[in-house]
């Protein structure tokens, strides 16, 4: 029996008042259901796919740095810039809710930079990166770093068209952060564990933290770093070069990889 009108049939049938179209009472128009079936992130993902294709075609390696406020993202960038700016053209897109303070630091380290202020926004999206990279106009065989808004949650969700996401966390945070904020650790190819010079002073078990990270992402690579003393910076630069070689024209990549 039809549960809507009580008639005998089991077939699905509509219950529009077509049988009495000739007398108009103020009937409520029939509700129709339109199936749409669209991913909510579809627009950003389309733009990200266009970015990824366009960056690869132009030989630009884009890395998306994600971490909490204070994890050491800007300090990491400063030390990378000082190490490789004479060998590789670099540029940075700085995302913050407000101010251009980080952009000033990056500029002070000697790198082209463009600040993006998101206002109330908690993340960067693919459209912002497209506009930012267009404004920076990086040359072939270059690297563009995106320093995302300090936040472990939202940036994990928005593909920017980057070559790889890099999650940055410091030893002054909880070692269980990878399992508390699993999305970003799952989406990242590299975890940089910063401020390791503080390890003797803080109750932080680095091996346990790495184990937590591999619990959510068995493939994630880990580099331990002390930006202030420069330890681990070469290792990060080596990782970046190897990754960038995937989109750089091959002769350039070979030249950079063997100085």
């Amino acid at each position: 029996m039809c549960t809507t009108c009580g008639c005998e049939t089991d077939d699905v049938h509509d219950h529009h008042h077509r049988d009495h179209d000739d007398h108009h009472h103020d009937q409520v128009p029939a509700v129709r259901t339109l199936r749409i079936e669209r991913d909510l992130l579809a627009k950003n993902e389309r733009l990200a796919a266009v970015n990824r294709h366009s960056f690869a075609a132009r030989g630009i390696a884009v890395f998306n740095l994600i971490g909490s406020p204070g994890a050491g993202k800007t300090a990491l960038l400063e030390s990378i810039i000082r190490r490789v700016r004479t060998h590789v053209p670099l540029a940075v897109l700085e995302g913050d809710q407000a101010t251009d303070r980080d952009a000033q630091r990056i500029e002070g380290a000697g790198c082209r930079v463009r600040q993006i202020n998101t206002g109330a926004g908690c993340h960067l999206d693919a459209a912002m990166i497209e506009a930012g990279v267009r404004a920076l106009a990086p040359p072939r065989s270059s690297i563009v770093f995106v320093e995302n808004v300090g936040n472990l949650v939202c940036p994990a969700l928005f593909d920017l068209g980057e070559l790889a996401k890099i999650v940055v966390m410091s030893v002054t945070e909880g070692e269980d952060k990878p399992i508390k904020y699993p999305h970003v650790f799952r989406a990242s190819r590299l975890m940089v564990l910063t401020k390791t010079d503080l390890l003797p002073h803080v109750p932080f078990d680095a091996d346990r933290c790495v184990a937590f990270a591999r619990e959510v992402n068995p493939e994630i690579e880990v580099i331990r770093l002390t930006a202030l003393r420069g330890e681990g910076v070469d290792e990060v630069c080596g990782w970046l070069r190897a990754e960038a070689a995937r989109v750089w024209p091959s002769r350039r990549a070979a030249g950079i990889a063997s100085p």
Binding site: V28, R32, L34, I36, E37, L41, K43, D125, C154, L157
Partner: protein, 77 residues
């Protein structure tokens, strides 16, 4: 508050799909692993529909176990 950005896109997508029709219900599928909170989505939806063709519509969220974040269907007249 990335939910706000998601709902802004949703409102313009739905408005583009339904044309002149009046929207009563917007139905989403939101997975528990999806990195978006149903409460924040509802709140953002209310903010975003204000002054648009969707004003007065209800957001119906079907929670699932996976990582889905999909606009399924809309009910219109």
């Amino acid at each position: 508050m990335h939910e706000l950005a998601l709902m802004e896109d949703l409102v313009s997508t739905v408005a583009g799909e339904v044309g002149e029709a009046r929207v009563h219900v917007v139905r989403l599928e939101v997975g528990r692993q999806a990195c978006a909170s149903p409460d924040a989505l509802r709140f953002s939806f209310e903010v975003c529909v204000h002054g648009t063709a969707l004003e007065g519509a209800t957001l119906d969220i079907v929670e699932t176990r996976g990582a889905e974040l999909r606009l399924k269907e809309v009910e219109v007249t």
